[in-house]
Amino acid sequence: MISRRFFFSFPIFFSVYLLQEGFVTQMRLPVGGFSLILIFTLAWASMSTPEIGAVTGFGAGLLMDLSETAPGPLGHWTLVLILISFTVSFLSYGDDHARANPLSIVFLVVVGVVGAQIAFALLGLLLGQALGNIVQVLFICLGTAFWSAIVTPLILPIISRLHALVFGTASRI
């Protein structure tokens, strides 16, 4: 069962990763743009159990760490996404009101995206990474939240369908 889920999940996430690296990053959207893989992962995690959420975060974080644009060491995004994905899925799992309401998922994803960025920045500081001006960091966080709030509702139905395809129709919004 687990291998089947992984077998289906991996190409999906890899495709999203390719989309992110090949197209979304090339758009050079203003105020930071958005991270498709981050939104996808957190939305996916919000529909999954905390264990699946953590594993999803691990896989997606590993992919993000492999990106050329990732400034930190390998494992940086992995650690952040394990924790954030776990938290997001922990908050939504078992709460039928939250899971049934797309707005709650959008909210969770947007908060999760901002939380992931802040956690990434803090961990980066601990690892000696130069982040630059704090105002600029906050500006990018807000910009990403803005874009995520726009993009998440648009792709949520697709994520929901794919999640249902992998985990069963019961999880579909």
Partner: protein, 309 residues
Amino acid sequence: MRYGGDNRGRLLLIVLIVTSLFLITLDLRGVKVIDGVRTGTQTALTPVQKAGSWVVSPFRTFLSDVTHLGRTRNQIEKLKADNDALRLALLNRKVADAELAQLKSVLDLAGKGEFKVVGAKVISQGSTTSFTQTITIDAGSKSGIRSNMTVISGFGLVGVVKIAYENSAVVQLASDPAFRVGARIAGSQEIGILSGQGTRKGVLQLLNNTTDVKVGDAILARGSNNGRPFVPGVPIGEVTAVDNSAGAVTQTADVKFYANFSALGVVAVVVSSPSTDPRDSLVPAKPRPTPIPTVTVTATPSASPASNG
């Protein structure tokens, strides 16, 4: 019902966190395998990124135009201004280059004739409405320039200083109808008086009616007492036509001035004449005709069809 978690879930979470920390540690310690993974991923991603860049470029351009509308306009204005400034700089540079070339040639001529000169830039061309031909130069009495001094360019005689002001001077061009200069023919040393005609062509009136003047003969300044108004040996022009009318009292010849009066940028005023007459040493070398390559085409008849068959 909210998720409460179990030991298996906690264990999985701990394992994942430890794994990520392990990866961070390995990467920070510079393990080559990690670098290799990243490099390999990037190599594999490059074609996708190139394709993505190509696909997204119209959207990116549009977005950039929209978001930078104000800035783009400002940038265009700035670039226009820069372009104008660069054009002006280029133009100035061209002018400077031309002036430099003129200065170099005039100094060459002055050096050859051992003239002591003061270089000057032509700052204005006199009005021709009064039928005079003059130029104003940016050097005057402060630079040692006095009236009745010879003015030369790199090609030869330009004229004579008519009035010297403190910082400028008016030069009467050799083409001025009122201009007269004692001249001699290089080689034969026959003398005459050359007068301006208002064009680049002057008329040489020879004193000896039996002189043999030929087209192409170089005409030089004869020189005056103490080199004023004319220093000796300055090339003036060359004979382009000779009038040998029977019964004429004097023989005349048309002379084309070496100096191009309409393109004067830098001139030199001879402030001190040489101790010795340079004679014909300043006669410009005749331009050598450029050899025209001739191509001879020889037609070779091809073998007749009969012989081929």
